[in-house]
Amino acid sequence: MSIKEIENEIVEEFEIFGDDWEGKYEHLIDLGKNLGTLKEEYKIENNIIQGCQSRVWLHSEKKDNNIIFSAESEAIITKGMVALMIRVLSGHTAKEIIETKLEFIDKIGLKEHLSPTRANGLVSMINRMKMDAITLSK
């Protein structure tokens, strides 16, 4: 599936909640719980994404021509967001990753996570994923 197709799939998945934010967040929490843990060897200082109130580790590697992401966070909501980002971006080429606008975040009503408050690291996470993609594609 292309990034756009995965984004659309997530939008559909969240549509059933409508204005029910509790349902939406419960789903996000479930996604976080199901993400699993990152290998201990990847939980290193270099992999920590700056700017998150909870620690988030992101490991990026290149397989064939695609970039593969794995990540973990101490906070479960952040982990849910991480899970969504991995689902959308992991396994695609650097070019695809860099070019995507990630419009699904707004569409599923989680735009508040893109605010520039220091507590919130989603923007840093996205930037880091794109940066890693650029670095690995060189």
Binding site: W21, S54, E74, A119
Partner: protein, 414 residues
């Protein structure tokens, strides 16, 4: 201060709430419950009007103008100094210096003492629960001057182990700089005890009152410390202003570290004679509207009296603490039944960020994270806490709603 001594004073919270327009706001469709007063308090209409009226009717630069507006603005600005001096019972209003806030004041004290008192290798005593703002200026000085920071440890209940201070003092110790109230825990530092130690060893005592000035009566004449600093915005006033109080002897002794327009008597290229009194430390055009709003905030609080405010908030703290203690997953820090209006806690096996994010969805504003006290977080072995902090307009009904939603949030995160 004990609540039973203050039984006779009662606040009319319902009427008070009407003074704060922001309390009408809905957050995510829910009425705002603002429990982040430790970060900044909301502003009553009286303060908003004072700032707005100043810009609508009086705006002009102060101290030098010959025209009517400048005279009126100067009078309003200097009147604010008098109002604030009276509130803190300061002998001369010149001992109240307007700054950009607590952080600015602490930097000014540190830089002034660095140029006068401190010598290479000297030592400064801080507490374990200091805000970064009361660590960093001293640390910077220490790093550049082979100095050392000595830290007052915590007791098991997270209060300060004051008995340990004597052991930290050496002939190189010059200063104790300490929070009057911990911004993370709400615990009140026993300044009387610390003052005795400071006097005995001839140490300069600097008090960071950012978190005490909003909640309790402070008599600076009686308190008799060298420096006392706080911000207006945590005391119902505007952001970007605060005070640096200094005892009389420092007013002429502390070197000017921020020279500029307004601080002088005469200037030539060879030599400058600085002004006497507060103006010596107030370079450039000050935050005139902020200072006028600050005085309006002080007047607002003084109509109720700080004892009534303290009693109201202490009741809220004790009520919230007891309700939180009933939730098995909640871990409270710095528990005490006589503290300022701040409570820190965590929920077992959850990250503070998750709890704070979900509470916000219910319209409840709390603070999560390290609260600019990372050394304290390290001592508590936590990445952060959830902090709720109260003000004059908060109610037990709000606490009940918060507790109900906190339980729901804990359930969601299970």
């Amino acid at each position: 201060m004990l609540v039973k001594e203050l039984k006779h004073i009662e606040l009319n919270t319902e009427a008070i709430r009407k003074d704060f327009p922001i309390l009408n706001r809905k957050i995510n469709g829910m009425p705002l419950i603002y429990f982040d007063n430790g970060a900044t308090s909301q502003k009553p209409q009286q303060v908003i009007d004072a700032v707005s009226n100043y810009y609508s009717n009086t705006n002009s630069n102060i101290h030098r103008g010959v025209h009517t507006l400048s005279r009126e603005a100067t009078e309003a600005f200097e009147n604010a100094r008098k109002v604030i001096a009276k509130h803190f019972n300061v002998k001369s209003d010149q001992q109240i210096i307007f700054t950009a806030g607590t952080t600015d004041s602490l930097n000014m004290v540190c830089n002034g003492l660095a140029r006068s008192v401190l010598k290479q290798g000297d030592e400064i005593i801080l507490s374990s629960y200091e805000h970064h703002s009361n660590i960093l200026p001293w640390q910077l000085w220490a790093q550049e001057n082979k100095g050392q920071l000595k830290v007052i440890p915590l007791n098991a209940d997270q209060s300060l182990d004051l008995n340990a201070i004597e052991n930290l003092i050496s002939e190189k110790t010059k200063i104790i700089s300490i929070a009057h109230v911990s911004n993370t825990l709400g615990l009140i530092t026993d300044l009387d005890k610390i003052k005795i130690i400071a006097k005995k060893h001839n140490l300069i005592l600097v008090v960071d009152a950012a978190q005490s000035a909003p909640h309790m009566a402070v008599d600076l004449e009686k308190l008799d410390v060298d420096f006392y600093v706080c911000s207006a915005h945590k005391i119902y006033g505007p952001t970007g202003t605060g005070i640096l109080y200094m005892s009389e002897k420092w007013l002429s002794k502390l070197p000017v570290t921020k020279p500029g327009g307004g601080t002088i008597k005469t200037v030539s290229f060879e030599k400058t004679e600085y002004a006497d009194g507060a103006l010596r430390f107030e370079p450039g055009t000050p935050n005139i509207s902020g200072v006028i709003g600050f005085a309006a905030a002080i007047n607002y609080m003084d109509q109720f009296g700080m004892d009534a405010i303290y009693k109201h908030e202490l009741e809220l703290v004790n009520y919230a603490q007891s309700k939180l203690a009933e939730i098995p997953q909640v871990m409270l820090y710095g528990k005490s039944n006589d503290k300022a209006a701040v409570i820190s806690f965590n929920v077992k096996n959850t990250h503070p960020f998750d709890v704070g994010t979900l509470l916000d969805k219910y319209g409840i504003a709390v603070r999560t994270g390290h609260h600019c006290t990372q050394p304290l977080m390290n001592l508590l072995c936590v990445p952060g806490t959830i902090r709720i902090s109260f003000a004059i307009y908060n109610t037990k009904t709000e606490i009940d709603f918060f507790i109900e939603k906190l339980k729901k949030v804990i359930d969601m995160l299970k």
